[in-house]
Symmetry: C3
Subunit: 432 residues, 3 copies
């Protein structure tokens, strides 16, 4: 699919340089660009709003920031990389010796060429991030430096992108991604880009289920969204957090909190169908992304994630080396394809009820009786179409999804999707 | 048991020639003969009655049928075998060339000496069945044949035999067999014959449970019976379909839909007690006989079947080779014995409740205390009579049947049956 | 702990000679002495009271008993060992030949130096117990003997010691021991002695749960206590029967009736923590001590027992060889330590509920956010303190005890106890 790869590549390039955080104009600009792909609604939750145990912080924006050496030379410059400034740094303009400045400097000796990513959302502070190489090159004990951060913290709002896709039924799946990271490619610019393309695909299809697609700043945004949409969110049972889907490493998936949940099985079957046998499985953990919120007691949504280089798994995580060279649009397209396939399965995983629960139906009356039994080709294993029709009528009692029935029959769910739809069209099954 | 074998042999011989179908005089005559053994009530469900998704068809009767060749010689003759006519054939009297006749002729090249068994219950048609040998011998391309079927389809009724045996409690087990097959011995003349003898045995014993014994034409008869006895049938939890119990092959059993149901365990333990270690186990399948109706969602009865040469398992199935030479009265008597033994176990599988749930009872007060503990012989394994009494009083809480308790104690259920009855007589246990 | 060993030894010595039975002054004296350790309330249930299927028997007391030979020499003397008289013997004073006396004499040929222990609570009778050696030495066929039992059976009462220790919550654990055995050391003088010391320890600690500690005559005393405290007893879920805790053999524990109950796991983990890897496990059995009453249907308490030489396991059981030489105060102190440790675990096994079920709490607001993640030492395995805090907040939903959560996390429960208490102090968790 060369076209979609080019499209993805173009959005990665345009969105990468924007300075995002948990609030601010960078997030709004990001959502505006994604609105080219899907009609996102932008929700603004005001600073100071109480959202469960949390409070929406002041909105942060930044225009410029730098450190100059004694010669007036900019040795650290926000214009070159937005990672140079600790996110949510308060404004500062001062001259100071290295010994006072150093506690505001962040670098990684273990990755000397990388600018690390640091934030100070909930503690008033300021700081600069730089490569260890630059630190060694530019800073001297006796020198005085001028530091300048032209940022602003104000009563504003936190921005969330939301798209609700109406399917045939009101039952919803959740798709969530986070938009708070500045110029970091795999984690997580690839997340919102894939999500927007995924949403465009869902909009094009006529889905059975409804979909709630949200673009939130991580943690506080997910919490704010839950608090402002509590009733709807408490009705959702299953979803995805889209994150880290463009790296060069091995594909894998993070399991949802209930190990035997349908979403975990669907992902494994999707991998199998796509011929992917060598993949990573990450058990549910209390660390992770916004599944921490969505799987909390009040919601208990089974959230899984498909990843290509899951965060933590690659050394460039949360540094400037997680850039557009690290990811590829092909990888994102590959993961998009997996998400689409998994959601297509979930979209067909309907709970049906046999409308004639007492005894068998008369198959011939409904045009379902195969008179030439011997001539029927098997649909799965040794079972032919008529066998599966009878099994569906036997099992569809309004309590088990097709996926669960496929497990009882020890077979892939695919053939059941088609047959159940046909039986529903003939008014033998009804959605429950 | 030579007497019962002779009795069975005699009924097989008398019933074999009768032309049965899903309706008609042949079925009534069959039930009349079986009434010599047990006081069957004959129920008549009228043609046209709606029974769930089905409609009772018109009643079919046939007097004669043949095909004559150009010389007026009867080359196919219903009087020689009722299998020669496709069941539910409409009347016909015509002369036709082989090329027109051939679509009404049924034979099996793979079994050249066998007349196959064919029906056309729900599609107006007619036809003859004959051996491939006869077909090759008698039919020539250029010859004209006279065909004659003297049958009748009329507003009549479908006949069902029913016997309800009242036990001490109203809880019922179901025993069902089918009477729609013409001259076919193993499947299924042996079924109704065994069932009648089984019912006679149950009538002679003083049973704990009640028994509903039904003789129905397969599928439509079971459906009609369910529809006309819905409330009673929905209360039943367990039963047998009696079918194919006289062949020379290996004994086996078809499991009921819930693999861990008591009826399946009872059959396995019955086999064990009878020293039968080499038997077939057929898992529940959506194909089969009337368990398809009884196990449907509306009823969900756990129906098992004990078979000797289960249908499908022998090549003569549904052909004239399944005749009185294929089966034997000894085999039927052998299977009867298994059915009786299994039902005796089920009949004792009572759910009891300890009338003194708080603390232990004072065994000596009830004459149950063994003062000479050392002298007590073990009743099972290392457990003696008093141990088992205490275990029964511990476990009988009104929710678990004796069978389930035997599983908790990892022992055969037999000794518990006797002890529980004794404790009930002493008013320590009561049926729940 | 040398002090407690001396204390235990002193109580064993003082209590050993007292003649206890299921009623009588010996039991009251025993309870009076134990009142030095803990403020036991003594309850008296009157003779003739109906308690479920049983009736409190008359009270039995004995002053003296002997058998004299023809020379007037006391060849059996109650003053030398209270085991010499069958407990509940009616008064007798008679002269008789050996042939008439012998049916009232009890000895054990297999343990020729031991006086066996016998009772006749519910059948009026009398008897003497003596060693087989003495029997062979003193009894001759032609001699006449004088037998004398100065006992009394009167309308009195059955005595029970009870201590209820009030904890922070009303939820109770049960600790029960039996006081009906005369001079028998391991089974069961060690039981009430350990129980009294255990109760003293519980009184000194500020416990979370409440404790109901009872000293009852076996069987009839437990039944009487249940009948007179039915409502309270039916609310209890878990407990211990303390018995046989001073022998030289291997330590072990009797499992409670539900194999996967928390009390069984707690004991196993206690053993593990104490470095005890070689111990016996006795599955729940219908024989045993007062768990027979407490685990009956009406109560279904999960009662376990920690033993050192469990009754039946040593040949001296229920004979005069189970004396103060067989047991040691050190062994009792060792088992006391195990009981204390297991109860400390159970006492902390609280069911908590997260007060902020929707999304995560903001850890930093509650002073729980570790800014220097890297510096945190793991608390268990690879999990650090903050991981466990998050897991507790995830799992504490008001339905699972900490023990059950430790099983879900596949880790020991210890670290969870401390953290949960801390979270409760910070008003993040509340007891459920």
């Amino acid at each position: 699919m060369p076209d979609i790869v080019s499209e993805i590549a173009s959005y990665l390039r345009r969105l990468f340089p924007i300075c995002r955080s948990i609030t601010g104009e960078g997030n709004r600009e990001t959502l505006r660009i994604l609105q080219e792909l899907v009609p996102l609604k932008v929700l603004e939750y005001p600073s100071g709003q109480k959202v469960y145990d949390w409070t929406i912080p002041r909105e942060w924006n930044i225009r410029d920031a730098w450190i100059k050496n004694a010669s007036g030379e900019k040795i650290v410059d926000f214009q070159r990389s937005n990672l140079h400034v600790v996110s949510y740094s308060i404004p500062v303009h001062a001259r100071m010796k290295k010994r006072d400045l150093v506690e505001h400097l962040h670098f990684r000796e273990d990755l000397p060429s990388a600018i690390p990513y640091r934030t100070t959302y909930y503690k008033e502070n300021w700081g600069f991030c730089l490569s260890h190489d630059d630190y060694m090159k530019h800073f001297r004990d006796d020198e005085t430096y001028e530091v300048f951060i032209d940022s602003e913290l104000k009563q504003g709002s936190l921005s969330v992108g939301e798209l609700t896709i109406k399917g045939r039924t009101d039952k919803e799946y959740l798709i969530s991604t986070y938009i708070c990271h500045p110029s970091l490619a795999n984690d997580n610019l690839t997340g919102p880009v894939l999500t927007a393309f995924l949403a465009r695909e869902l909009l094009r299809e006529k889905t059975n289920f409804s979909y709630r697609v949200v673009f939130v700043p991580e943690t506080i945004g997910a919490i704010a969204y839950c608090a402002n949409n509590e009733e709807a969110m408490k009705r959702i049972g299953t979803g995805f957090v889209v994150s880290s889907v463009g790296g060069p490493g091995k594909v894998g998936y993070r399991q949802s909190w209930q190990k035997d949940s349908v979403v975990n099985s669907v992902i494994e079957e999707t991998f199998r169908e796509k011929g992917i046998t060598d993949y990573k499985v990450y058990p549910f953990d209390i660390h992770g992304s916004d599944e921490r919120q969505y799987s909390s007691q009040g919601f208990r949504i089974n959230i899984a994630s498909i990843n290509k280089d899951r965060f933590y798994d690659y050394p460039y995580y949360h540094t400037s080396l997680d850039d557009l060279d690290f990811v590829s649009a092909e990888n994102v397209a590959f993961c998009l394809d997996l998400h689409v396939a998994a959601l297509r399965s979930l979209d067909r995983n309907i709970v049906y009820r046999n409308l004639s629960p007492n005894c068998e139906v008369m198959l011939s009356k409904h045009g379902l009786y195969e008179t030439t039994g011997g001539g029927q080709l098997p649909v799965f294993g040794t079972r032919n179409r008529q066998d599966l029709i009878l099994w569906l009528l036997f099992h569809c009692d309004g309590t088990k999804s097709l996926w669960e029935i496929s497990r009882l029959l020890d077979m892939p769910v695919g053939p059941l999707f088609d047959l159940a739809e046909e039986l529903a069209k003939r008014n033998l099954l009804v959605e429950s």
